[in-house]
């Protein structure tokens, strides 16, 4: 049914919106930005912070615009002296209960609360009384929770429940003891949190941030006994520029390589090389399952948040998940074996770093299985945010850098690799290879357009030599829960499913640059731009199929021998196990679509 439109006036400007819009949405639609803290366009609205109050003719008090629905003839004022005063008072009250340590804070200059205080013209601290105090929880490999900085907006609780279906967090107690955290006040590491970091993207303050890897990296970079080697994930290259004023989606691969060398890394490899390698191993695993009656559907395994989710919430699907390690961990294992031997470096002296769009990768590299080289394969994972920070700390002028080059023998990749960073990309890359390996024919077109786009769940049927292969692509774990449930109920049937933990895939990873300006996490334009950046890199490559990467051919010839072979098993594959405590997922919801 067509929604009825209503007319209203906001600050004297006419607006026409559908009758179920909120006042805030109506204002947004005509370019008026009402200040906000607890509202997020992708999450349910709770009206908790009251920063978004407005004056409405006929209303007794000042309603919160994010939870007030429009009506015909409504007259709204967002910018009167009384409203400015009210907002300022609200923010002052929040600040009175907030640590006064912006200069030494993780989110300094990147903090919604700080920003708001400045724009609203808060000039003094009112009641410098006692503040609440909680201990910092840094138990998790990925997320640090500093409740003293929490303003109880509840966005983390909602993103974790509504987008990820994990429900690791809730608001507990009341009054001055009110806090946000896992059940039973337990530590993050003992909770059902799957380390995705989406909460750090929506948190308006530094109450939730990633675990620091910068200190250890700098320490090792200045240690003459260490050989520091680094790898860069696909999705990082189209987002890192945002921290230096470039538009989202700008490809900064080679500037990043140059910056990493200036920071002191001796060797710079490309995770895209091991993405190609993943396709070879995973493609062969899929063909084997398909042709020998193995467990289907097969699920991809490169997203560590999804793996932890699987182990915590849906262990019954463990055997369906590819045993392939993620590209990061394949690269990690090869650096300390293959490369160490080739370059004559003692693997004990290698300090292996990876730059990832992801906080869950910090958890992945610390998993006990990830020691196939005899050492921890990847020593430290830095997020895109952390890399940007290191570049700034080192005084490197990013915008003036001359492009650098990756090192052989693991620095070249095909067009199938960059798209690992966006939902649908792993599937497309796998199809390009699986099709040609099975049919021994050249694909008419390498572009599988059906699997692209930011929808939460996508489906496609691919004809491979007369066999109809049903594939699905899913991102955001609430959607994954829906998909798995419907597979169990027999409502969905697939051969191959790609899963990415974060909305949009790695381009929307929990470790990406905080959206700049008025942009929010999960913004469709922002994510489309980043993803377009990756598809452009794909298109501009001469070789666009993983199995045609000459360095991949070389590494099999020289070292790995054959896909799914003995060495592959030892270095490139892994296993999973049910986790505890077992998670109880949210109830099924409609598919969450970013775009």
């Amino acid at each position: 049914m067509e929604k009825k439109m209503v007319n209203l006036k906001i600050d004297g400007i006419a607006a026409k919106v559908s009758e179920d819009s909120t006042v805030m949405q109506a204002a947004d639609s005509i370019g008026i930005h009402i200040p906000r803290l607890c509202y997020h366009p992708r999450l349910s609205s709770v009206g908790a912070c009251r920063v978004c109050v407005v004056e409405i003719d006929g209303a007794k008090n000042f309603p919160a615009s994010c939870v007030t629905t429009v009506f015909e003839g409504m007259n709204v004022k967002t910018n009167t002296p009384a409203i400015r005063e009210a907002r300022r008072n609200i923010v002052e009250l929040i600040l009175d209960n907030h640590p006064k340590e912006c200069q030494i804070c993780e989110r300094n200059n990147n903090c919604e609360l700080q920003q708001l205080a400045t724009t609203l013209g808060v000039e003094e601290y009112l009641y410098a009384g006692e503040r609440k105090h909680f201990d910092i929880d840094s138990s998790s490999c990925s997320i640090v929770r500093d409740s003293d900085k929490c303003i109880l907006c509840g966005k983390c609780v909602r993103v974790c429940a509504e987008i990820q279906g994990v429900n690791a967090l809730s608001i507990s107690a009341r009054g001055y003891k009110t806090n946000v955290g896992p059940a039973y006040n337990m530590e993050m590491k003992d909770s059902v949190c799957i380390n995705c970091g989406q909460c750090t993207l929506v948190c308006p303050t530094a109450a939730l941030t990633e675990k620091d890897g910068i200190k250890e990296t700098f320490k090792n970079l200045s240690n003459p006994d260490k050989v520091c080697i680094v790898q860069i994930a696909p999705a990082v290259r189209v987002a890192v520029g945002e921290a230096f004023g470039f538009a989202p989606g700008t490809d900064k691969t080679f500037e990043m390589v140059a910056a990493l060398r200036m920071l002191g890394f001796k060797v710079v490899f490309d995770t895209q090389f091991s993405a190609d390698l993943t396709i070879i191993e995973e493609g062969h695993e899929f063909i084997k399952r398909l042709t020998t009656g193995g467990k289907l559907p097969m699920f991809t395994s490169c997203s560590p948040g999804w793996i932890k989710y699987l182990e915590t919430f849906h262990p019954e699907f463990i055997e369906n998940v590819s045993t392939c390690k993620s590209p990061q961990q394949m690269m990690g294992a090869l650096i300390k074996t293959f490369y160490a031997k080739k370059a004559g470096i003692d693997p004990a002296k290698i300090f292996s770093v990876s730059i990832m769009p992801c906080t869950a990768k910090k958890y992945e590299c610390a998993r006990p299985e990830m020691k196939s080289s005899g050492f921890q394969d990847v020593d430290v994972v830095l997020t895109t945010r952390e890399l940007a920070k290191m570049i700034k700390q080192a005084g490197i002028k990013f915008s003036e850098l001359k492009p650098g080059q990756f090192d052989g023998p693991m620095g070249e990749s095909t067009g199938a690799a960059p798209i690992f960073g966006v939902t649908g990309g792993v599937m497309e890359a796998a199809l390009r290879t699986a099709y040609e390996v099975i049919t021994k024919k050249t694909l008419p077109s390498v572009d599988f357009k059906d699997v692209r786009g930011l929808k939460g769940i996508k489906e496609a049927v691919v004809d491979v030599a007369g066999t109809k292969v049903n594939v699905a692509i899913v991102n955001g774990l609430a959607n994954v829960h829906k998909l798995l449930t419907e597979i169990k109920e027999g409502k969905r049937k697939y051969h191959f499913v790609e899963v990415m933990t974060c909305p949009g895939g790695c381009i929307g990873g929990g470790g990406q640059i905080y959206p700049q300006g008025d942009l929010e996490a999960m913004d469709v334009d922002l994510y489309s731009q980043r993803s377009a950046g990756l598809y452009t890199i794909d298109e501009e490559k001469k070789i666009r199929k993983s199995h045609e990467n000459p360095l991949i051919t070389a590494i099999y010839k020289e070292f790995l021998i054959k896909p799914l072979g003995e060495l592959s098993h030892k270095l490139l594959h892994t296993h999973y196990h049910a986790a505890c405590p077992k998670g109880v997922p949210s109830e099924l919801r409609d598919t969450v679509n970013i775009g």
Binding site: A168, R174, A579, K582, V584
Partner: protein, 177 residues
Amino acid sequence: MNNTCTCAPELKEKEKQDGIKELKEFIKEHKLLHDKQGALMTVLHKVQEIFGYIPREAMDVVSESLGVPTAHIYGMATFYNFFSLKPKAKYQISVCKGTACYVAGGARLLERVEEELKIKLGDVTPDGLFGLSITRCLGCCGLSPVIQVNEEVFVRLVPEKIPAILEKFRKQEKKTK
């Protein structure tokens, strides 16, 4: 790999096991009568009735059988004042925090009780015998500082007298056994 759970405290006491059994039966009977939120409230009240408080094991059971994430249950159980997440002590010690008692040294009484019992404000001793809380003026300011143990009030206290008071209740407890 085996899924050996180490995260939840084991159910040791027979009482608790019986309680959990009763709880499960209750949930089975009442599950379909309400929407989830309503069911949760009813079930949590039942938990409080069975155990006298809301133990974590019980919340785990409720979570699994109603399909509600533990974080939500915890949020709800800590929000309402009529739910308690700690077992009730047999003897609840309330140290008066009114102005008169405070001026007369109430804080030192509190410290001493904490020291003697090795618990913090709001906690209960592991044997469930003593709990520690503070209270507002008890109306006997002339006799400050005071503490109250269950219904009994002790007046004009100095910290040195605390051990004897605790001992008195320990003895009383032995006799009743």
